[in-house]
Point group: C2
Chain length 203, copies 2
């Protein structure tokens, strides 16, 4: 019986450990799909990476999607504008410096809240179309953006200084959101940007 008690303790602590490891993540609950601005801002605040598409110099203007990390602000304080830390060694950066037209695409799938296939309309997806612009070095906005990026992606601080990393933002012109059945939802850039800060809950 002594062994059983020890086993019991072991499995109890193993269970606690498994649940506590996910409890450290600061999360905001998924908004109701009717609230399209909240849905779009939630996707941006909760994701840490997406695909940034530019027009390829190398491939004569073909679209070129690239996996990038991003941040729209400190956790719980995002403003909806995605910031990026990009090197000119990367074709995406060179493309943007020639032609700033770009789109940034994220999915609900990495957040872990999708109950259906990643392409099912209930698994939200967002494409922000606009201009990928380099921020002025040492400007106030660059300072804010760097803090937002380095807080969500601490590894960035150690990326090689010689790689010519620069801070960019996507100036949003159009928002394409699917977060339920019935096609893309209607949402203006103004509605998206004016959305009031999300309530943070930790679980």
């Amino acid at each position: 019986m002594e062994l059983q008690v020890r086993l019991c303790q072991f499995f109890f602590f193993l269970t606690i450990l498994q649940y506590s490891s996910s409890a450290r993540i600061l999360r905001i609950d998924k908004p109701d799909w009717h609230d399209v601005a909240a849905s779009a801002r939630w996707l941006v605040s909760q994701n840490i990476w997406g695909v940034l598409s530019t027009l390829s110099i190398e491939h004569q203007g073909a679209p070129f999607g690239n996996v990038v990390s991003f941040s729209d602000g400190l956790p719980g304080e995002g403003k909806g504008i995605p910031y990026f830390y990009l090197t000119t060694l990367d074709p995406t950066t060179r493309n943007a410096l020639k032609d700033s037209r770009a789109s940034f695409t994220i999915s609900e799938s990495p957040i872990g809240t999708c109950k259906m296939d990643p392409m099912d309309p209930t698994c939200s997806k967002l494409t922000l179309t606009g201009k990928l612009l380099q921020l002025e070095e040492r400007s106030e906005e660059e300072k804010v953006a760097k803090k937002a990026l380095f807080t969500k992606h601490p590894e960035m601080m150690d990326w090689p200084k010689g790689h010519d990393f620069r801070v960019f933002k996507l100036e949003i012109i159009n928002i394409f959101l699917i977060n339920w059945y019935g096609g893309a939802k209607s949402i203006t850039v103004d509605e998206y940007l004016r959305y009031k800060p999300l309530k943070v809950s930790s679980f």
Copy 2:
């Protein structure tokens, strides 16, 4: 003590349940990064969604990335060519039917094997650039592609018939792979497509 035994059984079964739920996934081990063809094919075979970028009709030729599900074959039998099940209700499909230039981008991140930030070079990423082409209806290739898609994405079979879903493939022209430090790896389309089928192991 009776209660302790019951508790012990409870936590034991809870632990077993948690591990067995992930054991059902059929997985192929991550290849060594030196083997670039294996790395690229592994990313394609193990992912179930990515971002498909086309040239937007609506936004005057701006790049438009869209989250899509895909399949390159039955599990363990992928051929490296991504197939898609797209509706003409979606702008991506309409863009491709006007100008087939496209790229398809996937990350190692959703597979769950990245140890670093999604943008760190050790967290592999792949961009296939080429032409997004509709397959001939009722052709042999369409039959193969549908089987590949419906096996990985069974929900697709129930998607509304009236939504004009069609099967597309990406005819690959260029491969951009980062799977380690040192910039994009050199890999031809021929090396990628000729890569021998991957050995399947279940764990």
